[in-house]
Symmetry: C2
Subunit: 501 residues, 2 copies
């Protein structure tokens, strides 16, 4: 017993070291995208590669494997729900994945993706795919080598598993195919019904300085302690946390439209999840969100289920009219909601309405499977992209900046990430069904700016668990049923029915 | 030969890893002082302690020692000035220092000083020394244990050596004593002569927003590539570089006075040194400034020898009057210079005139020697501080915020740092003597805003060497003589003579 207990303590100490190295890496990533002068790019790639290598060596070390093996019998005697049992489970999984991957490859991916991200930023600014192409090729090549480190049914499986642990490509393909089947007719029907909705307000000029003020005040009114987060600007909005009480949100301001608000709410949802992890898990590998699907469920919930709802704007429309008395045109929160929910195929994923959004995901999922599978050459990607947008969304892509270059993910070598957005949509709706039945007054609370009961429900049912349970386990515990498509489709049908009759 | 060459390559790879870990740590420090939400403090202390431990373990490792021993004979055959010989020298020195210190102690110092810095910030804001005291006690205790890891003539020697490699406490004590002897009568004489100088302009309110604009435009007009630095705000101004082309400057804005400008110029001087290191040294332990004394020579040069000179304000006074047409009172650059150079004992070191500045250093040096030597208890520090200020500067300290709590250094466990400011003053004046004889038109160039020749001289004579040579070697090579007090005293006498006759 004493032997086990001292092994367990040593295991925890080593895992804490790995955990804090991961947090330090997160700061390097955040800084690279928000603060770093361009001159820092080359050294940053080396700094990141070094931290990733050291992190990887410690995680893959035989010593760690030995300690895990020593405490496993102890873990099996414990209740599945205990922090200790979960710690051993998750540490074993992380270790076993790490030890399959050569440390040089880990470092190479970190270095290449850091450099690629800068090239992408430039390429996107001038819509110059050629400038990005060699970086994309290198990322695809490295991630293919990475996938080959693992046993697999599908070469895409190991990539997906990094973002959605335990999920298989075939399952995702099925979900997206089910969604497509249901969404295509729904898009046709609703977009016809909303064709006459006036959303010209969203094309207007909203001075950036006042957008900043609105986003800051809005997020400040939501329930995350003000000493635990900050908001910055970036090319492609993201959220990264250095710790549960050091959450970094970002958004992007453009002169026209109010996308900054919805991007801000999206990242806020991510941040609130990170902030809600049980402090008892601090310093362990459990002190993080459990999957990107669950993570995106929280961001999409705040962006859409909350942020594009009538009750939300009943609460916040005053803030908007105060900031933009001339830009808005006298409609109320309901009109504004009809405008921001108008269904129409569009070019930019992060600005897409909820009905067409998953078609953006589907085409990315298909294209990245083909890239990784070797049936699509990186240099043919823009043509394939444009063709797919034409086919699924019925629109023409005017240039690569509004097409294949719009997202940071492939620059970041994050193949396998995109499907988690659709999983997130599903999970968000399923959790929403549960929270609505738990909090019958939810709409009134939201309209009154009282978000604490919602936050408490989310924290209790989802956030606090960190990585103790898988996304599937969390959802089943919170909603009483496995992750499925129906609650999401029900939500969409009801929402558009209510908004546009 | 092949064996040596492969050992040398392996040594360089290991040193690069250590180097990039050090850069990552610098980012954590920078972020902690400029960006981090307060909620991040506890985790940041752990992140820093982890990085410092990993860095230390790699630097102190037997493997590294073995590699250094293997390449040493090779290094001895090379020219002393070669990059390779310098690399081996410096790596050996760093390794031998590191292996004397237990890794736990290194981690404990990093953690304690990170936490102490937050406590200090609060304590300073409410002038509450008691709040800071336990952290100070812990820092003194840990740094004493650190000093005891080394053989030494004086317990203060190992602390000083971290900032000014090779310099002994006795030498510093002699320099400061020589300075005191010369400065005390000079202060008396000049402050009498300048008593009637009208510096009321510096007590006026200068709206912070316009100070920001002035500092930004001024630093932007100086010769450092704009893609290689940024400027932020902090409690106690500092400069940290993540790499030579990723320089982070900071300053502090207060409603009254223009100290933000001089702090900005000070940090710019630090940054320009970092920026000027030879890119051929990138990724090695040589790619950093060689000592804090030389570092401070560059900051004090830009702050004072340049930034408080008539030619500088002949060039920049227009910028100032444009920003503050009402706040300034119609005097010209000469009047402004007489105001910003007025000699009068004052409470705050970083705002002190050049004649009284070194007395601030002397009292800190004495007090920290007493703290580390055990003859002064941390709790008695405020009384000792106030007494020493009365004795050396002839003024009363109204509260600890304007006294013992004003500087970040002791919170940061940076005992041994303060004397490098006075060394920096000496070196700055000695280099200035050399640069003036190399560039006879220097005053005209500065007045015309042409700083490139000066930058080139500094880069060529000082910056590019990084850690290849010691501060003493750099100064001797650049000026033809060892570091001494006379050029500094000559500079001061001439300056005040010329300004106030």
């Amino acid at each position: 017993m004493n032997g086990t207990s001292s092994s367990f303590d040593e295991l925890k100490a080593r895992l804490a070291e790995i955990h804090y190295l991961g947090q330090a890496k997160a700061l390097l990533d955040w800084d690279e995208r928000t603060m770093m002068p361009p001159g820092g790019a080359e050294a940053r790639a080396e700094q990141l590669a070094t931290l990733v290598r050291v992190h990887h060596e410690k995680l893959a070390s035989e010593e760690l494997g030995r300690l895990i093996a020593e405490v496993e019998p102890f873990g099996e005697e414990l209740h599945y729900d205990s922090d200790e049992a979960a710690l051993i489970r998750v540490a074993k999984r992380d270790h076993e994945k790490a030890r399959r991957v050569p440390v040089e490859l880990r470092g190479a991916i970190a270095r290449a993706s850091s450099i690629a991200e800068h090239a992408w930023r430039e390429a996107r600014a001038r819509s110059d795919f050629e400038h990005f192409l060699p970086h994309l090729e290198r990322n695809v090549y490295l991630k293919l080598r990475y996938a080959h480190c693992f046993e697999r049914d599908d070469v895409y499986d190991p990539l997906l598993d990094d973002y959605e642990p335990g999920m298989k490509t075939a399952e995702v393909a099925q979900v997206l195919s089910d969604l497509k089947e249901a969404l295509v007719p729904l898009v046709a029907e609703v977009s016809e019904r909303t064709a006459t909705v006036d959303d010209s307000v969203l094309g207007r000029r909203f001075p950036v300085e006042r957008q900043r003020e609105v986003v800051r005040r809005m997020l400040g009114a939501l329930p995350m302690p003000s000493d635990s987060w900050r908001l910055d600007e970036t090319t492609h909005p993201f959220q990264l946390s250095m710790s549960p009480t050091d959450v970094r949100l970002t958004t992007r301001y453009e002169e026209h439209g109010l996308a900054s608000i919805f991007a801000g709410l999206h990242e806020y949802g991510h941040g609130l999840y990170e902030n809600g992890v049980d402090p008892a898990l601090d310093g362990t590998p459990l002190a993080k969100p459990t999957s990107l699907g669950l993570h995106e469920s929280q961001s999409r919930m705040w962006e859409n289920l909350i942020g594009r709802s009538v009750p939300f704007w009943q609460g916040f429309y005053g803030l908007l009219t105060e900031a933009f008395p001339d830009e808005l045109d006298g409609g109320g929160p309901e009109d504004f909601c009809r405008a921001v929910n108008k269904v129409q195929p569009s070019l930019i994923r992060i600005e897409a309405d909820e009905l067409t959004y998953d078609l953006h995901i589907l085409l990315r999922f298909e294209l990245e499977r083909e890239l990784i599978g070797g049936t699509l050459e990186p240099r043919d990607l823009p043509a394939a992209w444009n063709e797919r947008v034409r086919s699924y969304l019925g629109i023409e892509v005017p240039d690569d900046a509004h097409g294949v270059l719009q997202d940071v993910h492939w620059a970041d070598a994050a193949f396998g990430y995109f499907p988690t957005y659709s999983l997130g949509n599903l999970i968000a709706a399923q959790l929403w069904e549960a929270v609505r039945s738990a909090l019958p007054d939810l709409d009134d609370q939201i309209a009154a700016g009282s978000f604490e009961p919602l936050r408490e429900w989310l924290r209790e049912s989802v956030h606090r668990h960190g990585r103790k349970f898988s996304a599937a386990e969390v959802v089943e515990r919170a909603t009483g049923k496995p992750i499925g498509v129906e609650p999401y489709l029900d939500y969409l049908r009801e929402k558009y029915e209510a908004l546009y009759e």
